[in-house]
Symmetry: C2
Subunit: 212 residues, 2 copies
């Protein structure tokens, strides 16, 4: 693993970062300081869907598996970044199908959209580019291992969450909150590790792309 290029694609975590529907308070606090204690210590508080994170099926499926039950091998594997910056609303089957011959079973697919051009600390953008149900079903048919998108959700506007459900039922792991503005479309190896939190439906993660 020497001589490799490492590209960080994680959303920076800070008190002023964008959060889903501006809903989650993020706290980053210094609890010990050089001035008072002679060293520095900090603490954080955040929702499990803050910044770059993995949604486990238990988010929307009552008996779905939990984040600590995630098969990490699905997040450590070859990955294809697809350029979807021409899409203005939803990524659908018709947007992905032209790439069919490049999408192999067991890969991770990351969508780079105009979302990545939004500043990481501005108010939540409700009109973010998302993956619609037809696109999700197509990816599940293709038997990919994981899908990632460059905003804090992969779906919007449907209280039944059909995109999430199609992916979760299809065994496709969902990575939300990537930052891909500095990444060219193409092939990489994905390394994405969520925190090992017991018994919950999601966890913040760090994600990088590596290339020899």
């Amino acid at each position: 693993m020497n001589g490799m290029e490492i590209i960080d694609i994680s959303w920076p975590i800070s008190a002023d970062m964008t959060t889903y529907k501006n809903r989650s308070e993020v706290s980053v606090q210094e609890t010990r300081t050089f001035e008072r204690d002679g060293w520095r210590e900090s603490a954080i508080a955040l929702g499990c869907h803050t910044g770059t994170h993995i949604d486990a099926p238990a988010h929307f499926i009552k008996n779905g598996h939990l984040i600590h039950q995630t098969n990490l091998s699905a997040l450590l594997r070859p990955c294809l970044v697809l350029d979807m910056t021409h899409v203005t609303n939803a990524i659908s089957r018709a947007d992905i199908a032209p790439h069919a011959q490049d999408i192999h079973p067991g890969e991770a697919i990351l969508f780079k959209t105009t979302n990545s051009a939004l500043p990481a600390t501005q108010d939540f953008e409700p009109a973010f580019v998302y993956l619609d149900e037809s696109g999700a079903r197509y990816l599940a048919e293709k038997k990919i291992a994981a899908v990632g998108i460059d905003y804090l959700g992969i779906e919007r506007g449907n209280p039944q969450h059909p995109t999430h459900i199609a992916l979760m039922e299809g065994g496709v792991i969902i990575i939300e909150g990537l930052r891909l503005g500095h990444v060219r479309a193409g092939r990489y190896n994905l390394i994405c590790l969520p925190l090992n939190i017991l018994g919950v439906e999601a966890a913040p993660a760090r994600a990088v792309l590596v290339r020899e």
Copy 2:
């Protein structure tokens, strides 16, 4: 990256996990429930030195670099797990030197000690096995990239923190809070990614060992 064995070496995060000197409150809370909201969401609050985590130099060196400035390549590389389960107090130069020919510059070294036999949720054990200053200086001389230990600190009993300082000044990244009880001594590839928190001195991380 197919066909590989993945061994999780992360401390499980839960409200009842062991914390350094029993100091840090860890909160894992369900904020939305299937019963009330139709889906599940959770939030966490924890110190940045909770469970498996990386100490950046800014923890003990006032102008040291911060966690988001960590060179991730030091945490994605060949790694040697050394069996130190015979050590009852401190790992010193004399304990590491017999392995000199196996320790190569640029590697990560992980110490497996009797700490890994302690339950992950019991009260803090103040007599944990640690790395003393002579051992830290030896590792810095060997120009390793990172060192990891299987307890929530790598040092104890010295308010000057000489182990941390020797490692930090030597450019050796410090991984604390590993769980290695199920890992055999030997060679692996380390994959360890801390959360991308801006402006702080440490971050919780997920760590795994992989082997083809």
